[in-house]
Amino acid sequence: MKGLSRIDLAALTFGFAFLYLPILILVVYSFNASKLVTVWGGFSTEWYAALFRNKALMDAAGVTFRVGIVSATIATILGTMAAVALVRVPRFTGKGLFTGLLYAPIVMPEVITGLSLLLLFVAIDLDRGFWSVTIAHVTFAMCYVAVVVRSRLSTFDRSLEEAAADLGATPLRAFFSVTLPLIAPAVAAGWLLAFTLSIDDLVLASFTSGPGATTLPMRIYGQVRLGVTPEINAISTLMIGAVALVVIAVSLATRPRAAR
Amino acid sequence: MILDSPSRSSRSAPAIGAVRRDFAPWKDPGAVPLIRYEGVRKRFGATAAVDGVDLSVFEREFFCLLGPSGCGKTTLMRMLGGFETPDEGRVTLAGRDLSGVPPHLRPVNMMFQSYALFPHMTVAGNVAFGLKQDGLPRTEIAARVDAVLDTVQMRGLADRKPDALSGGQKQRVALARALVKRPKVLLLDEPLGALDKRLREETQYELMDLQVALGITFLMVTHDQDEAMTMADRIAIMDEGRIVQVGTPAEIYEAPADRGVAAFLGDVTIFEGVVQGRDGEGWTVASEPAGCVLRVGEAAGVAPGTAVGVAIRPEKLRIVAEGDPAPANVMDGEVWDIGYLGDWTIYRVKLASGLIVRVSQANAARFVERPVGWEDRVRIGFDPASAVVLTA
């Protein structure tokens, strides 16, 4: 492998600057004492303090967190099942449509998914709130989980399962004692992805939530429409920091296994 | 092995086993080399991949770089293709310094180990690629592609994509693609490594015939000693970035420069010992592992008291039967193992010193009752001229 050319270095520099500068600016200005976004008024953490006094925002964060945990868990179970079905069952009725259904929500514009789910909930008279948002998120996130787990499963050495079967394990036993531990990193990554997709979602939540189930992105969206404020910068920074910490922790934890 | 009766050869004139009669430009002091490496060095990080190499390859020669993986042979060859730049020294081709000449302007072509066939082009498209880069007229390209595909017997599959070819077929296409530009030198990077054993042997002879017919200089890299011995006019043995020995296959096999080369090429038993004195035209060597004083032929650079290794190949040792005339050197031992290979039978004989000596015998007749069996006491022996005295 040759070294990187000057063009390559320029592309990397420009690309990553483009990706990270806006986030960096946002983080820096969350510590700005001045309320004006372009004027640096000195270092301050007052916006973070204000954040924790904002009860509506804290309530929304609580709702978001609960929806995220529940929906990510259900989505991981369903998505893993779907991935196993796709990879391990050679053919079944409607496999083509099933595969299509699993991939479609990933590219489907969210406004369509959101509106159609809401209309379904209205049609079947389901109360809108925590559960309607959770169902919406499960539907969307399970597809991502399925994709992540599927790609791990398809590179998985099938003879391990066959060895387990040869040693007398039932298919179910073989799955739980051999397959699942080995694909666990992918399942965990799938859960994490589902969780961040859920706490990040604005569109689906806006359509499907009801009174008392306002999520954090909905609150942020409401304030953002009114303009840029340091307070939003502060909560954004907290969310970015939390995600960065989790991602780094996970990648460190899974590194020895990934470096096969 | 390509050698018929090497034990009778005189070691002072090792001109044996040349593939083409009278082709030996390296012996002609007036001959000008086609390729010349002069003091070439290359480091990758802390390791020296090529550590001071001087080497000349002549026109129409089939030259082989042989050595274990990581010895620097591939790096040395890729310098000629332009894919590696020497840190020091220079590489010249037909008198022209190649420094700074990019790969696409060099009159050499390479057959890659992975074949590197373009998966999005047909066989014909792959072969035509190089000619198109030269801007040749369409009709000439078509004619030359057809001709070279005929040569490698792949014309019938000209419209296939590489994915639809077998390993042997891909190898032929890669060869055709590299040959079609009529390069001054064809570089072959482990060209037969991906083929199974039978196909490999067949292809070896085809490549040799092709090389003679086309008159192109071949520079091949391989780690397979049989392949190098079979195909090359001359072989350079490399180890840790240096060239240890250059010579014809027979020279390298029969007169290895040191213990490393002797052990790398084929099987060998080395009796360590100390030179005692002259013995007619040769020397006597007192060897503790052999348990006797060995008589050996002429050897350069030794005097009484020099520590030497007496190297002997299994096929040059024989089991001395009761009543046979004994050779000059005989040792007593016990048969430890017998391996029947069909064409050869290998005996592992354990001497009193504990040293195990390999002796091989050709099975010239079918189902001969074996003269010896496991745990039999035997005498083994060899002629003084069969052994090589190693000082390094």
């Binding site: 492998m1 990187l4 050319s5 390559d8 990397l12 420009f14 690309g15 483009f18 990706l19 806006p22 600016i25 976004v37 369903l78 099942m81 196993v84 079905a85 099933f98 595969t99 299509g100 259904l101 991939y103 590219v107 489907m108 514009p109 969210e110 406004v111 369509i112 998914t113 509106l115 159609s116 789910l117 209309l119 379904l120 539907t139 399925a146 039932t170 298919p171 706490i199 990040d200 604005l202 569109v203 992105p217 953002v224 970015i240 995600v243 | 990019p102 790969p103 696409h104 050499v108 390479m110 890659f112 590197a116 373009f118 999005h120 690629f129 190089g130 880069q133 994915d163 590299a178 530009k181």
Partner: protein, 308 residues
């Protein structure tokens, strides 16, 4: 006995996710279609359904015959919606092209970086994707607005004297779309380029092609599947994007996703919003199915390639 257990297990394994997607993804589209055919009304919920389960078969057939498709006719006749469609299409296409131009050099450089650096570079591309989409779009408001950082910097360097109007224009939407979707383009491109055997380039230069030509004749054609995969992943969601045009494009720029949102939340015209959804769905269905067929074929080819 074991056989029947395995059969039941398999039925559950396939059945549960199937059922979920059927009920919560497939079925809702039928509900949307029914809504799109209904009339808007001052009621809770604000529409008069056309079909009812209490109708008999003949009544339903009569109603089908009498369908006026009023909502769809409105979408077709009202230039506002046609504009929204054209704008969406134009911006999604421009985003895709820009992303190929920006993403290709980046992915190419990543694929050529030393092997031990590559996982880190990939992680750096993915990381922003894990942070809130809304927040990443929001960050651009502060940069692009008239008294924002970009204008401030341009003015300080003397390049401009009057602030540029970028926020609330199509340019701002384009910047936002390119920014938000960059990882979706880079990752498939990187996957295609990283898999590409470097000796193929060496072979091309060995056969007489200069570096740029080797890139054009070998690298580019072999990375086209990656380009196509990335384009699907970007173009389809960009067509129906709501957050970016809403936050960066202002009220003047209408894209289909935003039209739907405005009809639904601001005008409370559920049938019309549903009609927009149906149209958008029909438009994206072609690319989605093409994408699906493409991915299936690619997975198939990869499986075969992996075996040989």
């Amino acid at each position: 006995m074991i056989g029947r257990d395995a059969g039941r297990g398999r039925f559950l394994l396939i059945g549960l996710p199937w059922l979920w997607l059927g009920v919560f993804f497939l079925l809702p589209f039928l509900v949307v279609l029914r809504m799109a055919l209904s009339d808007s009304a001052q009621a809770r919920p604000p529409y008069r359904p056309v079909f009812d389960l209490s109708d008999g078969l003949s009544a339903t057939l009569d109603k089908i015959a009498a369908l006026d498709l009023e909502n769809f006719r409105l979408l077709w006749e009202e230039p506002l919606y046609l504009d929204a469609f054209l704008t969406s299409f134009r911006l999604a296409a421009a985003t895709t092209v820009l992303l190929i131009l920006i993403g290709y050099p980046l992915a190419h450089a990543m694929a050529r970086a030393p092997a031990r650096l590559r996982p880190i570079l990939v992680a750096l591309v993915i990381l922003p994707f894990w942070t809130s989409f809304l927040i990443r779009v929001y960050a651009w408001i502060g940069i692009l607005k008239p008294e924002g950082l970009l204008n401030m910097m341009l003015r300080q360097t003397g390049l401009i004297s009057e602030p540029l109007e970028i926020l609330n224009t199509e340019a701002a939407i384009l910047i936002g779309l390119v920014y938000a979707y960059l990882p979706f383009m880079v990752l498939p491109l990187y996957a295609a380029l990283e898999r590409l055997d470097a000796t193929l380039i060496e072979a091309a230069t060995d056969l007489g092609a200069p570096r740029w030509k080797a890139f054009w004749l070998v690298t580019v054609p072999l990375s086209l599947p990656g380009v196509l995969a990335g384009s699907f992943l970007v173009f389809i969601p960009a067509l129906g994007e709501f957050v970016i045009p809403d936050l960066l494009g202002g009220s003047d720029t209408l894209m289909m996703g935003r039209s739907l949102w405005v009809e639904f939340f601001n005008n409370r015209d559920w049938p019309l919003a549903s009609a927009v959804a149906v149209v958008l769905l029909v438009i994206v269905m072609g690319p989605i199915m093409a994408h699906h067929a493409f991915e299936t074929r690619r997975a198939e080819a990869e499986r075969r390639g992996g075996r040989s």
